[in-house]
Symmetry: none
Subunit: 297 residues, 5 copies
Amino acid sequence: MTSRPPLANCGLSAGKKARLHRILYKHGLGNGTALFLPYDQGLEHGPRDFFADPTAADPRYIVRLAIEGGFNGIAIQIGLAEKFSWDFAGEVPLILKLNGKTDIPADYRALSPLHASVEDAVRLGADAVGYTLYVGSPAQDADFAQFRTVRQDAHRFGMPLIVWAYPRGEAVEHKGGKDTFYAVHYAARVASELGADVVKVNFPHPEKNTGVPDAYRAKFSSQDAIDQVVQAANRTMVLVSGGSLASDEAMIEKAEESMSAGATGLIFGRNVWQRDHDESLRFVDRLREILAKYPTP
Amino acid sequence: MTSRPPLANCGLSAGKKARLHRILYKHGLGNGTALFLPYDQGLEHGPRDFFADPTAADPRYIVRLAIEGGFNGIAIQIGLAEKFSWDFAGEVPLILKLNGKTDIPADYRALSPLHASVEDAVRLGADAVGYTLYVGSPAQDADFAQFRTVRQDAHRFGMPLIVWAYPRGEAVEHKGGKDTFYAVHYAARVASELGADVVKVNFPHPEKNTGVPDAYRAKFSSQDAIDQVVQAANRTMVLVSGGSLASDEAMIEKAEESMSAGATGLIFGRNVWQRDHDESLRFVDRLREILAKYPTP
Amino acid sequence: MTSRPPLANCGLSAGKKARLHRILYKHGLGNGTALFLPYDQGLEHGPRDFFADPTAADPRYIVRLAIEGGFNGIAIQIGLAEKFSWDFAGEVPLILKLNGKTDIPADYRALSPLHASVEDAVRLGADAVGYTLYVGSPAQDADFAQFRTVRQDAHRFGMPLIVWAYPRGEAVEHKGGKDTFYAVHYAARVASELGADVVKVNFPHPEKNTGVPDAYRAKFSSQDAIDQVVQAANRTMVLVSGGSLASDEAMIEKAEESMSAGATGLIFGRNVWQRDHDESLRFVDRLREILAKYPTP
Amino acid sequence: MTSRPPLANCGLSAGKKARLHRILYKHGLGNGTALFLPYDQGLEHGPRDFFADPTAADPRYIVRLAIEGGFNGIAIQIGLAEKFSWDFAGEVPLILKLNGKTDIPADYRALSPLHASVEDAVRLGADAVGYTLYVGSPAQDADFAQFRTVRQDAHRFGMPLIVWAYPRGEAVEHKGGKDTFYAVHYAARVASELGADVVKVNFPHPEKNTGVPDAYRAKFSSQDAIDQVVQAANRTMVLVSGGSLASDEAMIEKAEESMSAGATGLIFGRNVWQRDHDESLRFVDRLREILAKYPTP
Amino acid sequence: MTSRPPLANCGLSAGKKARLHRILYKHGLGNGTALFLPYDQGLEHGPRDFFADPTAADPRYIVRLAIEGGFNGIAIQIGLAEKFSWDFAGEVPLILKLNGKTDIPADYRALSPLHASVEDAVRLGADAVGYTLYVGSPAQDADFAQFRTVRQDAHRFGMPLIVWAYPRGEAVEHKGGKDTFYAVHYAARVASELGADVVKVNFPHPEKNTGVPDAYRAKFSSQDAIDQVVQAANRTMVLVSGGSLASDEAMIEKAEESMSAGATGLIFGRNVWQRDHDESLRFVDRLREILAKYPTP
């Protein structure tokens, strides 16, 4: 069913394999799947994202949630990592997000600037780094050039590289928008072609097909679409993202389809912490039940 | 008939000669010709190119095809090279493609950003590097500057440099488009003037002459055109590309004309793997029959 | 009559003096004058320039012509230098052209991007480097910045720096065009002010004075004009260019006026090789007769 | 019988695997064994080694011998590589020896200084580098420090690292000399512990046991000894050296024992070329017969 | 008779070939031979060497002698090059000597420290650099390491590298001294193995054989000895040195034997300028007569 390759077949160096083994087998369910907690929304959208549950504005609360919820890692920006990672060092893996931007300017020529280095991640004891690549943006020249330095440093330091592969920019909008099967499928492949060890994608919407290339006009089920996304990524492991807060049932269904398609795991932020503490953990439990069904030996 | 220079007369350093000798005489037919399998379409066009034969989405399938088909090399991007080249290391030469882009934004000011270095290629044991130069693009300043660093590194490491010389951009469109004899002829020469060891061109269409400079308005046969393209490249070896999937007979005829003109080889991707496995190998056999007729001692 | 300064009075470092001495006294007539063969048209205009005499597409033919014709140097781009300069190393001085562009995009904001370095020239045993400066182009900030790195490297390595000083761009067009006395006069001075050791100019046309500043509306003979151009350049030696193929008599007359004005030499490309071999050498003989009349001790 | 690991199980990076695959499967017998021709004696002992067959003073003769004899590689110093490797580039793999010394000063504190870099090897298209480590020398601090830079560069460039592991220096002499089982056994392990991909050892002499540590005083057959040497090296492949010219039968017997023990190959210099051309090839044929019996799939 | 390879067969890069072509074909007899004037004795022995002819203390006098005598180059240290090379720039090739020492301390562990760089030589317009390698010195570790940087820079800049290969140090003294056939033979080979383009040796004395290795105890004529020295150097060109002032007839005879053996030229300093001006030129004429008999096409 699942086409997920075991870690030993992913073409990884010793250092990357060691760190991913820690994430996938020494944390969370320890069965080769992953559940990540991203917490970069304070930069990407601003602190208004914390209005839903003001305690979520405090990184210590998020860290506690990650530990209680049995997450395999927490993804944060350098500022929070510098000030808070000491507290939970070794208890839950740190994924240092290396770039990011505010959403104040428009996204026509989206580019996410680097504000931290792989060496920062090594220094802080992180087990992976994250990079946002805006696939299809007219600024792809600058993005690819910037990404090259990150990939080369990640190789040099044996640090797993997780790419947030986001279709973005005016050309993407003209071709159906960022959530189409076309856009997500292409984004997953681009991350893989450029050297991601893990790629984070949003769940594709094959039913949105206005403006997409002809090949994507056919009828695809959502399971078909996510299957192909995972296959396009091949030896690059796939994480499926929750995106903005949605109905739990919809989320759970997508999670199930993703894991069934061979994704390695899920990365859910706002869906988790934009509710009260106990609700959060209950939702996390449902996600863990799904992951438990898809172990990789 | 053929004006192809032997390797010893191509003005190559010891390292470049060693690596090209390996490609041309230790793989494929071993007669100084080359058949390359390019597999960068997942980045350049997106994974929709694999819909024709979904097994082609898997790099392992392509590598197997390259080995079974007796190819002289496989051209891939850094991400796939990092994760898959170990598997076939030494069995079929790796050509690391150093730049590339998605086709999502428009091509008015086309530029293909670097996402890997010649040193990456050395580290992976590649036998050549590939660079896409968009000849005639308004972004030629940035392109030439970027290319200079690649050429200098390729010299420093004795690594053969294959230039995908593609006429592109709004000015090219105004002067007849990217397939004219004018555009292809000029592109081959530019690659040679800037320091390519090998140049990949699309087959020229002398019959398309609307908008081209007067000198190209005369009647040229397609053999005349490819002859002149090879001569313009001089000591830079020429590879002729298959382009998008076309009729086999048309492809075979162009292949024959190219080799007769003194081209060193062919680089066929979609025409090979956008069909089923056995069909692919049958088509490859026909290409190899042509190459067998044009040995260089 | 002539205002040409001897080499010892040109403010040159030991390395620049050694290399210019070689060019001016160990090659050609050996009398302190120079006749250069430029062969960068394959890049600047494309290979259609070779349709007049197809043998001229082959760099070996051009090198042979330079040796037979007793030229003081041959100016080529890096690609041809890498592949062909070994063949004639030391027999005729190499002038490595460091920048260049295609003529496919329009020239409104002309800029000639660097594709080689002074260190490349040193490595190849060149005796000078060439740089095209588009005087008056709106892109002059990028041009001057790029030129500064070349000038500094040329100083560091003792390498003579020849500037192709070409008025170009939309502002030049609005002020009379690139061939006016105004434009050529200004270009020669700019090269001298920015650090050229030698400047290559096109012959000025004082009769073209529509749009030029008032000071250039007066009646100037062509001898007056070229005299002033050479004086404006001062200790920067002047080479006068043949430009596109013109009548022999017109060329010879301009050559005579140039040398009489104190130019150090001539740089003739298409006028030489866009005709058959014996015709080329006959025309060169006429140029050499002129140079012989203007020795510098 | 043999404990030789296949290439895929040697813990190699893609680049090292690609280059070793070429050496072991694209040259010589192509069965995973190797026969190397070392030609550094002109530096190590001086040109008097060529008095036995003066034609051997000419590197071109040695290269021809390597090609005719079907060797898997030729090991030479940088000076000969610079001047001769172009001639045979790609026909027989180049192993660039990075250090070496004359035998004029005494060996009490032996150290072999670096005179070339891994980058030189990359540039020349070499498929491996060689480093002489004088195991047990009082100068081992300088030696290890020097070796570290080589190992790191070899990793950086994916270049296989062959260590000539030679027990040497006054302390070795006091403990039984350089040929004892003790010394060779220890040397093989040191190379493996410090990061050699391949180790070249001299055949151990367990019967020489004066002065060796007690553990080596027991009775060991020569097969026992070489078995243990190969096991000590583990995933580091072993080459056994011929040393100075000895009787053919003795050499053949040692070669047989070495391959039976799991060595990957043989490295024979003076035993090959210190005789006349046809004798050399006849001796090589006998070595190849042995290698043919020990393929690694 | 002569085994001297033509320049095109010496394995040289374009830059090295260009500069050596200039030295060998554009200066002196222009027939591929060379006569060099070394003038580093003021550093190596001190100014007492000028007592024989006090005018020789003035570098301008030596330069004039080099020009009048038709030398192919003058070898000086950086200080004199900085202050005097401008005067003769381009008239006679400059060979910049990069290392040197005083003879005040004893030579037991001889090492000649670098005091200038290849880049200095490029800047001054030199056509070659010189390096003294003390073959067999106990300081060979430091010497080889130092030499490596020079060789790599010489490669990088295309600058011919002339090695003064001098057997020296206590071990050499114990094995017969610096003038034996053994020592000179070995020194020539070491220079060649380490990457010299040209090697300067003293004439070997096969009759001095006390203490030399057995192989050198046989009877060798002086012609045999110099023949073998030239063969040992192979594609590294050989210059034979005059050494300290000796009888003209002895010098002439050695010069003749050297050229007959295939040496490329002679390097005579004290024998030339430790006599009065006209005598110097008369002696030079006799040397030129010999060189004239051994052209290389």
